[in-house]
Every structure is written in C-alpha cells, then in structure tokens.
Point group: C2
Chain length 282, copies 2
C-alpha cells in the first residue's frame, strides 16, 4: 500500500492505472476509519482491480460552529486498517494541497439540500460537492462507494454525477450497525456512556416508522408524529428532525409511495447523530 | 470520421480510447467552422493520436437578448470541413441530450469575469464553465484547444481546470486572422459590407496600443485613451470596451508589467466583435 500526498503524484498514478486497463474503486473518507468504511473498502476490493481511498477532513464542508477542529483524526491507525483491508493507495493530501489558491469558480448544490441535514448545515453540501468533484478528477475512479448512513450525501452525489456526466458509477452501500442497531460513525466516540446506551433507540424509532408503514399507514405526518413520540419516550438527546421524503430526489410526499427515505438527526452533548432507512413502498 | 449524438456512446468511445493508450485532443466548438477552428484541429491532430471536436450551440451561455437563435449553424458543411481536417469523432448532441433534467447544482465563475465581456454578459461564463465541465467528463481529453481570440474564455477555463484539478492540458492557440487583420469569427458573416471593410481597424487599434507600450508607455489609461481615439477616427461601430489587464488572472493594472492583455469589443448592427493581443511587458 502506498500513501500519496500530492495531487500531481496521485494523478500520475491514476492515469497510469487507467491506461493499464485497471479499474479503480474509490472510497472517499475523512479518516478515523471504522467498520462502515471497511465495508465500503471490501466492496470496492471485490468489484475493482485497484482500490484507492482518500483521507481528507475537508474544511469547506464544516460550518463555523461545527466540529472541524475536534473531528477525530488518527492517521497511523487508519493506515494500518486500510492496509489490512487491502487498499492499494491512500490519497492523503494537506488542506494547502487541495486548496492552494482562492478558487475562481463556485459550485453550489441547489436541489436535494433544503431538507434533512442540508437545512441546518448551510453550505455543507456545497463543500462536499466541491471537494468530491476535485477528488474525482484526481483519482478518476470507475466506481465510487458511499455509505447509505449519509443518504443525503448519496442523493447529492447522484445529482452531481448526473449534472456533469461524470464517468463514474455510484455504489451506495448499506449502513453498517453495532449489535444494538446504532449506525457506525466516527462521531460515536464523542458520546458519553449514557448517551451511547440510549443511542440504539434512533434506529429502533426508524424500525417503528417502517412497521407502521408496513401495517398500512400512508400518511407521512402520522408516521413522523409516532416516531417523535417514540424518541421522546426513549432518548434524552435533542431531536433535530424526523423526516420522510422520496429518494434520491428528496422531494416532499403527501402520500407514501415508491422509494422513500425515513431519516432523523439527534443532537447529543458532543456529537450529532444521523440515521435513516430507505424503503420501497408499494 | 464518426458522428456521435449521445452522451453514452461518446463516453463509451472515450473510455475505450483511453484504455487503448490513445491520447485525445479535443476542440470544443459551437459549429460553423472557420479557419480559426481548423487551426485548432490541426494543432490537436499534430499533438494527439485521436482528435474529437464537439459541435454544440450551448443555450446556457447566451443571455436573453443575445444571438442564440441567429447563431449561424450548418452541420453538413461542418462535417465536411472536420472530415477534411482529420477529425476522428464529432460529438454533436442535442440540447435535450446535454440538459435532460433540471440540474441539482449550480456552477458560477466568480473570478476573471468582472471585466471585458463578462461585465456585459451576465451568466455567460457560468454557462461556458458548466457546459465545458460536462463536455470534459464526456470526452475525457488529454489536451483541450481554445483560440486566444476568446482570451477571457481561456482565462476562465484555466481557472476551472485548476479549481477542479481536471487532468487536462489547456492549449491556447494564436488568433487566426483575415489578410487585413480581422480576427476570424463565425459572427463575421453577420457584418454588412461597409462594416466588414472598416472592421480591420479593431486589430489595427490593438497594434497601435502595442506600439505605444513598446515605445515606453506604462500607464494603461494613456494607452486605452489613445486606442479609443484611434477607433473613433476609423470605425462606425459602437466601442463596448477597450481594457488592459494582467493575463490570465485578469486583474487591474496600475502600471503595465508582466503578461498583459489588451482587449476590445465593438458592436455592429448584427454582430458584436471582440479581439485582443497578449504581450509580455518587461
């Protein structure tokens, strides 16, 4: 496994790989790898001849009051995990390397962001789209892997790929969970013990919503109200939202039908957790 | 030579070319090919194993009062000229093919556009950058060729390539001129006879500016005033601007130094002409 720190070197390598007929599976990460990432890497490993991951905590996608500074980092550990998982190259650039000069253009995401996390994280998805467009040009993957835990990110990347005809196959991967159902996340380490214990109820509330829909409920407001009630009973964290939309277009639904997402966000003292499930309602 | 009308087919072909170790030289055009385009194609032909041109009159880069409808089109003629010039593929998509659905993102150009044509063509370069980013993803060129007649476009593309780390070499090519000095342009056909006759004075005024600088003048305002005076004497068209900036950053200059551009735009009854020269001032 090779660690690459400059754009130029990474671009030289990806060009050579492409010309040699290799297929590149790419997993963009912000590091502090956990089983969720390793699942993405495993899938990339199976479907491509070369696997590249990037580790870059992208300042552009953090708001001024968000956790850019405290976002967990541990490159030595990441390197070991990536190597064991069969990664071929880690692209590990500095902020200066990714943003050497002021940009001359501005990319904003205008759809799929007025709901869920986008509503409260102004500019977040602009930062995500910008860094991904750069990383895609640098790594030139055939396939890119994202966890469905960040479902809105998957929806935004789906739009980005379509908008700019990027020659990349988007591969969303099921959320990986702890035994009690909590979605794996780098941010889970910032939970206190009691928070960690009750956090399994986030997923359980999603299953509660799913159960209601499967039993015939088609009014999203009824499902959302029941889930809010359920969360109030079981958790102390502040519920930021419980929402249901079409997926991946993230449009409002009056009646539950087709591919939908049930998603929520909860704020704890030092961590903000998100989770979701995607269903086909027939 | 093959004409390709769909994004999917073009992308399949470029991927195959890349894997086969071919290098792709790309000339984006809006069609109605003239000697300027043919010069770009010849250069691409010399420097790459495959040459692709696109013909697409991009509605996104025309303002509501601009000449999208009247922009000259003649595909049969273009096809013949391209074939004779040794083009391998013409990418010739419909508007529906390029913009099948409403975009989910918005790309704007925030630098290098508050001067020259950008000042009066609000949104023009946003449309140029958007379509080029799409075309670059579809055609995946090693090198892209632009005429320096559209110098601001070259500056904007230079920024776009840097911003998004596009793995493409930008190849600007000297403006091709008629015998009397008029820069070749698809829009020249919209000049009346008397307009066409005097239009050579656009270039002559640029040479006048150059002469002044070479004789020691370093104050841009003095050069601009002299050029305006010269134009007033020789042409009937309305001078939209005469400007001098650094190149390619297009920043204002108090003192002429380094790589600079002298540029102008003139409005005639049914055509708006632009021209420029780029100098190294030592």
């Amino acid at each position: 496994m090779t660690v690459i720190e400059t754009v130029k070197e990474m671009q030289n390598i990806s060009s050579k790989l492409i010309i040699s007929g290799e297929t590149i599976g790419y997993v963009p990460t912000m590091g502090y790898l956990h089983e969720g990432h390793l699942t993405l890497i495993k899938k990339a490993r199976k479907e491509n001849s070369k696997v590249i991951i990037s580790i870059f905590v992208n300042p552009l996608q953090f708001g001024p009051n968000e956790d850019y500074e405290t976002y967990p980092r541990n490159f030595a550990r990441d390197k070991k995990l990536a190597s064991e998982a069969g990664v071929d190259y880690i692209f590990y650039p500095s902020v200066q390397e990714m943003y050497p000069t002021e940009m001359t253009t501005n990319l904003t995401v205008t759809k799929r962001t007025d709901v869920l996390c986008g509503k409260n994280r102004i500019g977040h998805f602009d930062g995500v789209a910008t860094v991904l467009l750069k990383l895609f040009s640098i790594i030139r993957p055939n396939r890119v892997y994202f966890g469905l835990k960040d479902a809105q990110q998957v929806a935004v990347v789906d739009g980005l790929i379509q908008d700019f005809n990027l020659p990349i196959e988007l591969c969303p991967v099921e959320t990986v969970r702890e035994e009690d159902g909590l979605a794996k996340s780098s941010r889970n380490v910032n939970l206190t013990m009691p928070e960690r214990e009750e956090a399994s109820y986030l997923y359980k509330s999603l299953l509660e919503g799913k159960r209601l829909i499967e039993s015939g409920e088609r009014n999203p407001d009824v499902v959302i109200a029941a889930m809010n009630e359920y969360l109030k009973e079981h958790i102390s964290g502040e519920v930021e939202y419980v929402e249901i939309h079409s997926f991946p277009s993230l449009l409002p639904l009056r009646q539950l039908e087709g591919k939908i997402i049930i998603a929520l966000a909860v704020k704890y003292s030092k961590a903000r957790l998100i989770d979701n499930i995607i269903l086909n309602v027939t």
